[in-house]
């Protein structure tokens, strides 16, 4: 493989966990709920995958248990934000704090040991002779699932009536309610499904990217994913591009340590974080005179009896 496809492969494998998390975040925010628990949910997803896989050695059971655990955490966030109408930002921070603590607490048994897992690969031998596209010839199954998922979600959100209802719920819940859409039901559903996708991000991180549980192993990826939602303008297809861009930056830090470059590795590791801020500043500056495209009731709980 040539250099360009090597970089592409690195970007894709580094970006896939981000992609799952961004897609989950988009579903949450489209329904009008900010989910800052991404980091904590990813950690719970990762640690549950590690524990269950070490116990059962079965990828499918691991995946299902991980979905249940992260879905439960999402349900907790949904209950606080939708039913109790608590502050979504504080609730999300609580999810992250709790998830970080809980994952460290229950992860003691599997800490440090490599997880003996092999993710099935999808071989597309006809791509191997094509210059750039040969990057896609030997990717693992979950990368393809994430790519297909972002396309499916794009069609779901923009081309189906459910997806348009979702947009309505996030933009104007009282009108949606008057139309007969169940605002509470839509929000619950999408927060829980979105949290499960964030769990998939943790699952991918520990099963494919670095199969070894370390406390706080997401190291801010959850927060980068939240930033990527804005970068992707709440669009799953842009999320694909954004996640691979940041995944590339992430693995750039790793790769450049091996090359003989006279920059301390600490500064290379700063690249994704600083790039996030710079990119967001650029987007903000570019759109300074345009109305915001974020869901209009983002962060506001819906209360049928409240007058506006």
């Amino acid at each position: 493989m040539d250099l360009a496809s090597l970089i592409l492969v690195a970007a894709i494998s580094g970006g896939t966990s981000l992609l799952f998390a961004v897609l989950g975040g988009i579903l949450n925010e489209k329904a009008g709920v900010i989910n800052l628990g991404t980091e904590g949910i990813m950690l719970i997803g990762a640690v549950m995958s590690a524990i269950v896989f070490v116990q059962t050695n079965n990828l499918f059971i691991t995946f299902v248990v991980m979905l249940a655990a992260t879905g439960a955490l999402g349900l907790l966030h949904a209950f606080l934000c939708i039913t109790l109408r608590a502050n979504q930002i504080v609730s999300g921070l609580a999810v992250t704090l709790f998830g970080t603590g809980l994952s460290a607490y229950i992860g003691k048994t599997v800490a440090g040991a490599a997880i003996p897992v092999t993710i099935p690969k999808v071989k597309l031998s006809f791509l191997e002779s094509i210059p750039i596209l040969n990057a896609f010839a030997n990717l693992d199954l979950f990368i393809w699932i994430s790519i297909i998922l972002s396309i499916v979600l794009y069609f779901y959100m923009y081309k189906t009536s459910w997806g348009l209802h979702l947009k309505a719920v996030g933009d104007n819940p009282s009108t949606s309610d008057a139309m007969g859409i169940s605002v509470i039901g839509f929000r619950y559903f999408h927060v829980v499904i979105g949290s499960m996708l964030m769990g998939c991000a943790g699952f991918y991180l520990i099963m494919a990217y670095s199969p070894n549980w370390i406390e706080g192993m997401t190291s801010g990826r959850g927060w980068i994913a939240i930033a990527l939602i804005i970068f992707a303008r709440w669009n799953p297809i842009y999320a694909l591009v954004g996640a691979y861009f940041f995944g590339g930056l992430d693995s750039l830090g790793f790769r450049m340590q091996n090359l003989d470059i006279n920059i301390p590795s600490y500064f290379l590791k700063m690249i994704p974080y600083i790039a996030t801020i710079v990119v967001l500043m650029f987007i903000g500056w570019k759109n300074r005179n345009r109305p915001s495209i974020e869901p209009k009731s983002l962060g506001n709980p819906y209360f049928r009896e409240q007058r506006y």
Binding site: L36, G40, L76, F79, L80, L84, R85, A86, N87, I89, V90, S91, L93, A94, V95, T96, L97, F98, G99, T100, G101, L102, A104, Y105, K108, E215, S219, G220, W223, I224, I226, A227, I230, P264, Y266, F267, K269, M270, Y273, I274, T276, I277, L280, M281, G284, W285, N287, R288, S292, F303, E305, Q306
Partner: protein, 372 residues
């Protein structure tokens, strides 16, 4: 059709009458006018969180009462425990004050961790770059440098928010990671003590660069700074025009803007104060407790401070109590390690407290009303 009939006075009359035959003649009513929960909510939520975490302790095969008694003894059972608790409470109090000021106007600064680290770096820079100052000048200059470094780090969060519409949550958190990497670079690289046997830390401070300790314990005069910060901040929030404008901005930003309050000016100022207080905490930590800048100088004070601030409902005076409580929780968390619980147990407990607190705040706004 059925929807329309509910406006019919007759059907309302029928509905009222039908309520009389309810088995349980009460209903939950949400009081939308009550903006905050009752005073007892923090206490009850701590209790509920302790019960919830007891479940995890039981699953771990231990007796929750033994664990909690052990924590209580470790934190408040001896002079050493109490002084350790206060030592932990000082940075929590200062960082908590910092984030609370920002939260008052809905600026979600979660970057106290980074601002704390920058404060520690700023204070240490004085000892490294100005080795020949007269002794008495060290502490004031180090404190000032810490505040300045923290405030500057706060501005890195504020300026993208005011001039580029970047969400401060993301910026402040990203800057935490940058600050930690910067700290690692300094203590593993150029600032490492050449005589330190590869220990990732700077050379130990000279006696003039250390804050005096109180009564032969690890307790130090940073306590005075922290209490002064509470008094000054409480005064400014309650008695000045600035505090009044913050209250308006917090209650209704649109009304505040229409009244001519410049929101961007306030965001910049508040983030400088917020960062400055966290930076002060960092400077106090290196010169009062650690005695040098070293790897992992903050065990997550900046994040824990968020809980300190919310438990106190952003009230500076109440934060004295909540910081002592959380400080005790951390010290107690160390002492349960001796009986086999990981130290992350206390951070799990903190997360659970925050959950119970915010749900309790909302639940206490419901009233049980008799239907008649």
């Amino acid at each position: 059709m059925s929807q329309k009939s509910s406006f019919d006075p007759l059907s309302i009359e029928i509905a009222k009458n039908s309520n009389k035959s309810r088995i349980f003649p009460y209903k939950l009513e949400f009081d939308a006018h009550k903006k905050t929960g009752s005073w007892w909510v923090p206490f009850l939520s701590i209790l509920v969180a302790l019960v919830l975490c007891a479940i995890f302790i039981v699953l771990n095969g231990m007796n929750p009462f033994t664990v909690y008694m052990k924590m209580l003894q470790g934190a408040f059972g001896s002079t050493f425990g109490i002084s350790e608790t206060i030592v932990k409470a000082i940075p929590l109090l200062l960082c908590g004050l910092g984030v609370a000021v920002a939260y008052k106007i809905a600026i979600w600064n979660i970057g106290a961790e980074g601002q704390f680290i920058l404060g520690a770096i700023g204070a240490t820079a004085v000892t490294i770059f100005l080795p020949n100052l007269p002794g008495a000048l060290y502490i004031p200059i180090m404190i000032a440098a810490g505040i300045a470094a923290g405030a500057a780090w706060g501005l890195f969060t504020a300026v993208p928010r005011t001039h580029f519409q970047v969400n401060e949550l993301i910026t402040s958190l990203m800057l935490n990671y940058v600050a930690i990497l910067l700290l690692d670079y300094l203590v593993y690289g150029p600032w490492r003590d050449p005589a330190g046997f590869n220990f990732p830390g700077t050379p130990a401070f000279t006696p003039f660069q250390l804050l005096a300790s109180i009564g032969g314990t690890r307790l130090h005069f940073g306590l005075v700074f922290a209490l002064l910060a509470v008094i000054i901040l409480a005064f400014f929030l309650a008695k000045t025009r600035w505090g009044y404008e913050l209250r308006i901005l917090g209650a209704n930003p649109i009304a505040a803007q229409n009244a001519g309050i410049k929101i961007n000016k306030h965001i910049l100022l508040v983030m400088m104060i917020s960062g400055g207080l966290a930076g002060l905490a960092g400077a106090i930590e290196v010169s009062g407790v650690a005695g040098r800048l070293m790897y992992g100088i903050s065990p997550g004070y900046g994040y824990t401070a968020i809980i300190v601030a919310w438990l106190a409902k952003l009230n500076p005076w109440a934060m004295i109590i909540t910081s002592l409580f959380i400080g005790g929780l951390i010290v107690g968390g160390y002492s349960v390690q001796t009986i086999g619980l990981p130290s992350s147990f206390s951070s799990m407990l903190q997360g659970a407290i925050l959950f119970c607190l915010i749900s309790g705040e909302m639940l206490s706004r419901y009233r049980l009303k008799r239907v008649n």
